[in-house]
Subunit: 353 residues, 2 copies
Amino acid sequence: MKLDDLVHEVSEWLKGSGPDPDIVISSRVRLARNIQSSPFVHWANRRKGKSILSKLEEAVGAIPHMKSALFLRIDELTETDKQFLLERHLISHEHAQGGGFRGVAISDREVISIMLNEEDHLRIQVLQSGFNLSEAWRLASSVDRELEQRLELAYSPSWGYLTACPTNTGTGLRASVMVHLPCLMMTKQIGKVLQALNKLSLAARGLFGEGTEAAGNFFQFSNQVTLGQSEEDIIDNLERVIRQIIDHEKEARKVLLGQNKEKLFDQIWRSYGTLRNSYIINSQETINLMSLVRLGVDMGIVSNIDRKVVNELFILTQPAHLQKLEGKDLTPQERDVKRAELIRGKLNHEGRK
Amino acid sequence: MKLDDLVHEVSEWLKGSGPDPDIVISSRVRLARNIQSSPFVHWANRRKGKSILSKLEEAVGAIPHMKSALFLRIDELTETDKQFLLERHLISHEHAQGGGFRGVAISDREVISIMLNEEDHLRIQVLQSGFNLSEAWRLASSVDRELEQRLELAYSPSWGYLTACPTNTGTGLRASVMVHLPCLMMTKQIGKVLQALNKLSLAARGLFGEGTEAAGNFFQFSNQVTLGQSEEDIIDNLERVIRQIIDHEKEARKVLLGQNKEKLFDQIWRSYGTLRNSYIINSQETINLMSLVRLGVDMGIVSNIDRKVVNELFILTQPAHLQKLEGKDLTPQERDVKRAELIRGKLNHEGRK
């Protein structure tokens, strides 16, 4: 597999399947790990960084889950390629922008991606479609065990896994769930939800991770505490809270449909109509309109599009994806035209079904 | 024919045929006439007003053009019916709102409508589709001649036809053309056009006559001077000016298409997408979006809708028309829902062609 092939594939986490696919886009588990007796990434000089990367690539390439993985070195990538991996949630902003010897290994269907020499030596990430933290955790810990057989990991009996940043020490686990909450936004209940999450020490982020806004009514909720709880407790806790949020969103959808069906239909179908007919459209407007179309699909109001197509469009309409599809750099204006063309093509194709 | 049947018919002037149908909606000629030795409408008492109306109805009913005409008395109409006639351009605001003994006679396909006891005893109006003032004038003067055979009209050898308001004295003729000038609006050239018209003593009004705004980029241009020129000169003069405006608008369309095709397509198709998919829409938004869809049809950009359907929708989506179609009074909110439903139905039907 090559990097350029990814653009024509639908990542596992975008399939729109799995449990509660009408509200939960994807579930993610990541583990932060470091090698014993090697300096942390920020402390390693170039020579050391390079040798650590080779060692990590060798170990990762040897484990069964990553046999046919795609291995990439960040410094060999173009800016567009880095942006492309970021848009697919395969690497972090820091990994794309930081220098030095960094790499990433990506499994089939992008279920597992392992960042090498990010903030920690290893960042094992598993993405699943829908509300499926348990499967993501099962797979991540199995990758973890395989790596532990090949690498001596930095582990303290009293602290747990040691990490570059103390906020990750202990389990090194961050579990997160990406949810779509348009009706909690419309009914202005989202503020309360975010306050409650904060009290429970859970973090809320936007579609593209830390520092991004909650565009298109998408939120990533994740644990902040990694220490003093077992992995299972962290995941159980997050699952329980998300389950409640899902119920709230479902209730809000029911209420809106009951109170003013026409208004809801109007918002959803106008979004669909605009997307299907525009010739110039920027990413912000796209994501906001797609959010409403997805709501329509999820509520059975829009029945002529597949949820997978909607999910896919969220990613394909991102700047780097458009440029990969076109095979060349595009100005923002050119992207807005290309984006509109892509959306029209997909929705017209689906609409004819 | 009954009043209620009209709602299911397409008026002649909305057929979208005739010369220059891509820019000119309709051409109209109206003649103001009064009966000799009867008081003007505003001076007549109730008894006199009633007897004049009977006399007019008899004379109008006897002329060949109006043999199968629909005769209505305004005071017998509901508010919705009056509004309905107004929306179809068959009566004036003043006629709908004024009291007393007023009537209207409407010919087949609404080509000829004669208001009785409006400001003048007789207001003969002929509407034609497209840029066709000569045919409208031919027909109006033929109706005029037929009436003169049956009624003694107030005429002075030195002043011409006498009218209640001196601005109509002389020929009693007002010729007007309704044009659609979206691209002169977009390119901000319309201001100059209106200034030039003013210098030529021509008036500009909106879609629904005097005092209405130029909604949806529609303008009615008409002569203001009725005295000191022959009917043919008045019409020739207006025709020549309109011909220039048509050429300007055509040029502006070409320029916009050449300069930024995507932007033009974007505006037109988004309008189409919104109209085809909305569930709540008010008349103002409808008319603005329909204007762009009509531009699309006229430029051959939108090919799956007939111009006639677009024209028809301008009228059918008006408040009284919606209520006549529904067969009952509707609140503004109910109308917005009904309007959206009607538009969706028409466009989806057309879109499947």
